[in-house]
């Protein structure tokens, strides 16, 4: 997030797109609701009539996968109505002329045809967002889990840049991260493109630095993504070490994932339960859980916070840092002589400039948000306040593309997937919690009432959902939350493996799967 969570209480206008905030990030939504109660305005763009949409002053029910078209239509209106923040644009950005020329073609009427959102509402949204003093954008995986995920994000960035809604309180572009430490995983360099602290692997000076630190030659080229690695299992990739991910259930196209993992010579899984993925492993190493470890987590607003052990792990389970160190030591990899999480964190602070100003003893109260470039620096709650780190921000010229699959006679229904309030991801944790089991014991397919009747389904009855990749039997729930022609389910339940159906395509840049769109056939079962 460019801005701190406290800014959720400070905007005049909120533009929430592709975020089911009240279910996936309930506490963030609670903070925004305070501002709404004081009169701030909310625009929600989402294919489903989610709870957040019910709170909205303006709801834009776009067809799945058409975000770029909606955002182009809005940009057209902002340019046409001359709501551009000229001073901000002149001082801090580059490429506006070409961009304005580009968006001239994309009228709200053009966008209506693709998105299904009335042109009048697209105009209203654009004017509301652009003319507010403080307007902020919030998004989640509804923006990124598309073949055009990068285009979606850059389209949002264009809107924020042309209106100057960046680098100020109550503004910004704010992705809400889904996992408690997905930010920290990226910060720590667990990515094929970056050393710790987002130091690009392609830069020779970074390579030199880490070759010295780690005492060995390192490749000059970036590695492959997990998606590519799974594609190459048995053909170039022959061993996986997986820590705390139930890949088999969480990833798209389960059949493909299962086949891939079976091709491996060696699979080692570190986890707290014998997940579906761990069941396939050659070696399973038992980890201490969240309540049993000391360590750090970095949240969605880049805040570095301490987790502390409250209880001891069961049996012989060990903290991940201990397990990985033991494994490295057994392989004689140098530099793994750690006695505590503190030593590991302090090493990260030494090698990652964004963490350079903190150490383990400074983060007890979680008061630092990175970048903290040097000791004595107060941290950076809000990014871009003094301009952009790489000079001027660039407007990106982006066109609309259809999703990887579009409905046809054989697969005439859109399927979109997501989360529900009570369950978390693949239910490794929430599936073993009595209260949650009581609240939300099974998955169901949300179908518009008109479609329930038309497709011969019954509310509470069973449906067979078929895509080009597989089929799933699932209970039907008749609800106006789903628009006509679009159905929804979460992927949380192993017994209703909705990711058998997904996996139609990937963003070519990030390899993020288009989990938010695929086409299916729905029949009574």
């Amino acid at each position: 997030m460019s801005n701190p969570l406290s800014d959720l209480e400070k905007a005049d206008v909120y533009f929430c797109i592709g975020t089911n905030m009240t279910e996936a990030h309930p506490v963030a939504a609670t903070r925004m609701k305070k501002a709404l109660a004081r009169g701030s305005k909310l625009i929600v763009a989402d294919p489903r009539l989610i709870k957040l949409a019910e709170l909205a002053d303006l709801y834009l029910p776009l067809r799945v996968g058409t975000d770029v078209a909606l955002l182009l239509g809005m940009a057209h209106v902002i340019a046409r109505e001359n709501l551009i923040a000229h001073q901000f644009v002149a001082e801090k950005t580059t490429g506006i002329d070409e961009y304005i020329e580009h968006v001239k073609k994309f009228t709200p009427e053009w966008a209506e045809e693709i998105t299904g959102v009335p042109a009048k509402d697209i105009e209203k949204a654009a004017i509301m967002y652009a003319s507010a003093d403080k307007a902020s954008i919030y998004y989640t995986l509804g923006i990124t889990e598309h073949i055009c995920g990068v285009d979606n994000v850059q389209s949002l960035s264009n809107l924020a840049l042309m209106t100057g809604h960046l680098g100020r309180e109550g503004c910004g572009i704010n992705p809400l991260r889904g996992q408690n430490n997905i930010q920290g995983a990226g910060d720590a360099g667990a990515a094929p493109s970056d050393y710790p602290g987002y130091q690009n692997v392609n830069k020779p000076e970074n390579r030199d630095k880490f070759q010295k630190l780690y005492g060995r030659a390192l490749d000059a080229e970036r590695g492959i993504t997990k998606v590519t690695a799974l594609d190459r299992c048995g053909d170039g990739i022959h061993a996986f070490l997986i820590d705390g991910e139930n890949t088999l259930i969480s990833d798209p196209n389960r059949e493909h994932t299962e086949h891939a993992l079976k091709q491996l010579d060696h699979l080692v899984v570190i986890d707290i339960f014998l997940t579906e993925t761990a069941q396939m492993a050659d070696v399973v190493l038992p980890a201490a859980s969240w309540a049993e470890v000391d360590g750090t987590l970095t949240n969605t607003e880049r805040r570095i916070q301490r987790v502390r052990a409250a209880v001891t792990p069961p049996g012989e389970a060990k903290p991940d840092w201990w397990i990985l160190s033991a494994l490295a030591n057994a392989m004689s990899i140098p530099g793994f002589e750690y006695d505590s999480a503190k030593e590991v964190f302090n090493e990260l602070c030494n090698v990652a400039p964004i963490y350079a100003g903190v150490d383990w003893d400074m983060i007890d109260d979680g008061q630092y948000q990175w970048p903290v470039p040097y000791k004595g620096h107060p941290g950076t709650p809000r990014l871009h306040e003094d301009g952009f780190s790489h000079g001027k921000a660039l407007f990106r010229v982006i066109g609309y593309r259809d999703p990887a699959e579009v409905v046809d006679d054989e697969y005439p229904v859109w399927l979109t997937t997501g989360r529900r309030l009570q369950n978390y991801h693949t239910r490794t944790q929430t599936g073993r919690s009595a209260g949650i089991e009581y609240l939300a014991p099974e998955e169901y397919l949300e179908v518009n009432p008109d479609n329930v009747a038309k497709w011969g389904l019954t509310d509470g009855g069973w449906a067979k959902v078929t895509s080009r990749r597989g089929e799933v039997k699932i209970k039907v729930k008749s609800t106006p939350r789903s628009p006509k022609g679009t159905v929804f389910a979460s992927f949380s339940f192993a017994e209703t493996p909705v990711n058998m159906l997904t996996g139609s395509g990937y963003d070519p840049n990030t390899h993020t799967a288009e989990l938010k769109v695929c086409t299916v056939r729905v029949e009574p079962a």
Binding site: G189, G223, G244
Partner: protein, 149 residues
């Protein structure tokens, strides 16, 4: 008395331990106090002074903690033996089998044939060591985390 004052009253000493930590679910990073007794979690309280949540907490964060003590928790390392099944073993053997497997694959197919997947659910230290294991161990950047799915 405000709600905050009430929450800050000292607990009557029933042997309940209060541990300030961060919720283990989504990326908002709510501060919580874990209440435990006799090495078991008995409750979770939202922290009124948590910078991300200011005392708020959701249904998962407040109530879905019993998985920590679930009987399904892995308590011992497991290795797959000749019968094709996973069997409990010692740490020494499990680490040895895991290490030998990576060593053999690296010898047979090259150092590029090994891939590491770090977690968005573990502390940052685990993610840092996972990338260091791959980079320092094999010299590649064949490392990713679960942010793409």
């Amino acid at each position: 008395m405000t709600m905050q004052d009430i929450r800050e009253l000292p607990l009557i000493d029933l042997g309940v331990k209060k541990t300030r930590t961060i919720c283990g679910y989504c990326g908002v990073g709510c501060s919580v106090d874990v209440l435990s007794k006799d090495n078991r979690i008995i409750g979770i309280q939202p922290a009124m002074d948590g910078p991300a949540n200011l005392g708020a907490l959701c249904v998962k964060g407040q109530f879905a903690f019993d998985y920590v003590h679930h009987p399904d928790r892995l308590k011992h390392p497991l290795v797959r033996r000749a019968d094709g099944k996973l069997h409990e073993t010692t740490w020494d053997e499990a680490i040895q089998v895991a290490a030998d497997g990576f060593r053999n694959v690296a010898q047979k197919y090259g150092r590029e044939s090994i891939y590491g997947v770090a977690s968005g659910r573990t502390p940052t230290e685990a993610d840092y060591l996972m990338q260091k294991f791959i980079r320092a161990g094999f010299g590649t950047h064949n490392i990713d985390n679960c942010s793409r799915a």
